[in-house]
């Protein structure tokens, strides 16, 4: 069976500079994939290409074995994915309307929207904020609303770009625990970009290390952390000084 999403001979260049160079890469159904690497490694760019929100310079992105026209993914395909970024980017309006937006844009009937929004507000513990303006929330609340907004469309793949990195530690821990439970329950395939080993260790089942636009190592998260290869060892060891997660 073909992987859910696959990259073949992919490159991404900006102003003649090579940002991504990935001969091959797969995302399988049901996995919680972490993408870790230093600042400027190309993580955000990779996420945008995978989610059909940016165009590669060359190579292919395949969805269930089918090559998708570069920069021209059909709307129905884009609507199978969700994305949440570091900034919550909520709209001026109620929390309820913000969480509902994906369904509103998909023209889902109002009664179903109401039911689903209530369900997802409950899961992310923001029901009490339903009528508040989303622009006046705290960082943690805003990110809960952002994640609920992404999850409500029940995406085939959820893409996350450092969604926890702007939160203070206790807020982050609480949200990550809730979030982990929700993803396990929904069994959503998730691609999670982070430069934080603690987050990666806690959440992901598979890990890809990207440095200078190249994927240097991929494998089950514990194995990658315990046995970094020659090109990832220096990056991972820097981290392990502070988080001795894998011995």
């Amino acid at each position: 069976m073909s992987p859910l999403l696959e990259l073949k001979k992919l490159t991404y260049q900006a102003q003649r500079k090579m940002i991504l160079d990935i001969p091959e890469f797969q995302i399988e159904t049901g996995e919680f994939l972490g993408i870790m690497g230093p600042n400027g490694a190309g993580k955000s760019t990779l996420l945008k290409v995978l989610a059909f929100l940016d165009q590669q310079t060359s190579g292919e992105v395949l969805y269930r074995g089918q090559a998708i026209p570069n920069g021209n993914a059909p709307l129905e395909l884009r609507r199978k994915f969700s994305i949440a970024l570091q900034q919550s980017l909520l709209l001026d309006g109620t929390v309820f309307d913000n969480i509902a937006i994906g369904l509103t844009l998909r023209k889902v009937p109002k009664s179903i929207i109401k039911e689903k929004v209530e369900q997802w507000m409950e899961l992310f513990a923001v029901s009490h904020l339903a009528k508040k303006n989303a622009l006046y929330l705290s960082g943690g609340e805003a990110q809960r609303v952002n994640l609920a907004r992404a999850m409500i469309v029940e995406p085939e793949i959820l893409f996350l770009d450092e969604p926890f990195s702007a939160l203070d530690f206790p807020t982050k821990i609480r949200l990550m625990e809730d979030f982990k439970g929700i993803i396990e329950e929904a069994q959503t395939t998730t691609v999670f970009v982070s430069h934080d080993l603690m987050e990666i260790h806690f959440l992901t089942t598979k890990l890809a290390i990207i440095v200078n636009g190249e994927i240097k190592q991929v494998g089950p998260t514990p194995r990658v952390l315990e046995h970094p290869n020659s090109s990832t060892v220096s990056f991972l060891n820097e981290w392990k000084k502070f988080y001795p997660v894998a011995r």
């Binding site: 929100l53 884009r78 969700s82 994305i83 970024l85 980017l89 109620t94 844009l105 009528k131 303006n133």
Partner: protein, 232 residues
């Protein structure tokens, strides 16, 4: 002070007695200004949105001209329209000079840059990331546009109000291209200028109160639209 009170009394008198001429002048003022701002909005809003959201060669130059237009003196606008509509001018055949249409044209010229520029400024402040997020939420191009217009409703209505303020206050161009012809192109501002020059301060004051009321009512209506349903 006495003059002010006399003026106010006269204004109320004029309105209550149903002075035909005052009514006609006020009605024409309202009609001309609303048509001008409507057309400026219909052109300036899409143009401003386009300039705010896209990047193309020549965009900066175009924006510069529009921004120069922000300070376009109404008499200059009036002069241009007059030359355009003059008997031997390019559009002279239409015989529009000294008609309400000519006033509308001049008012569009002075308000269009305001509506366009302020709309553009608002849309330009939408970040790349926000546009990406909206697209990722599953919005089509049309849905994105609609969402952004709703998000920027306050700024858009402010742009329209600023344009309307210019139009209702404007007198130089209306005088020049309209000619202040009784029963035809006489509007509140031009009548006030005329009455002052005749030394009829009470009538001028009375008319100024009517002008202020019209401006106030329209702006209040737009403000209501702007501030309605704000959630805290």
């Amino acid at each position: 002070m006495d003059l002010l009170i006399d003026g106010l009394k006269k204004a109320i008198d004029m309105i209550l007695s149903g002075d035909q001429e005052v009514f006609a002048i006020t009605w024409l003022t309202l009609k001309v200004c609303l048509i001008s701002i409507l057309i400026s909005t219909l052109i300036g809003l899409p143009l401003g949105i386009f300039l705010g959201l896209t990047r193309f060669k020549g965009r900066r130059l175009l924006l510069m001209f529009i921004n120069i237009g922000l300070g376009l003196p109404p008499v200059v606008a009036g002069l241009w329209i007059t030359m355009l509509l003059w008997r031997s001018g390019p559009l002279g055949g239409l015989t529009l000079l000294y008609s309400p249409t000519a006033i509308v044209m001049a008012q569009i010229l002075v308000s269009l840059p305001i509506v366009t520029s302020l709309t553009c400024t608002a849309f330009q402040q939408i970040s790349e990331k926000m546009l990406l997020q909206i697209k990722a939420l599953g919005a089509t191009k049309v849905q994105t546009l609609w969402l952004l217009i709703k998000q920027l409703k306050i700024a858009i209505l402010a742009a329209i109000m600023a344009g309307f303020g210019r139009v209702i206050a404007e007198v130089g161009a209306a005088m020049m291209v309209g000619g202040n012809i009784q029963g035809d192109t006489r509007i509140l501002t031009t009548t006030i200028v005329m009455e002052v020059s005749k030394g009829n301060f009470d009538i001028a004051l009375a008319l100024s109160f009517i002008l202020l009321s019209v401006a106030l009512l329209i702006t209040a209506a737009l403000t209501f639209l702007q501030q309605r349903k704000r959630i805290s």
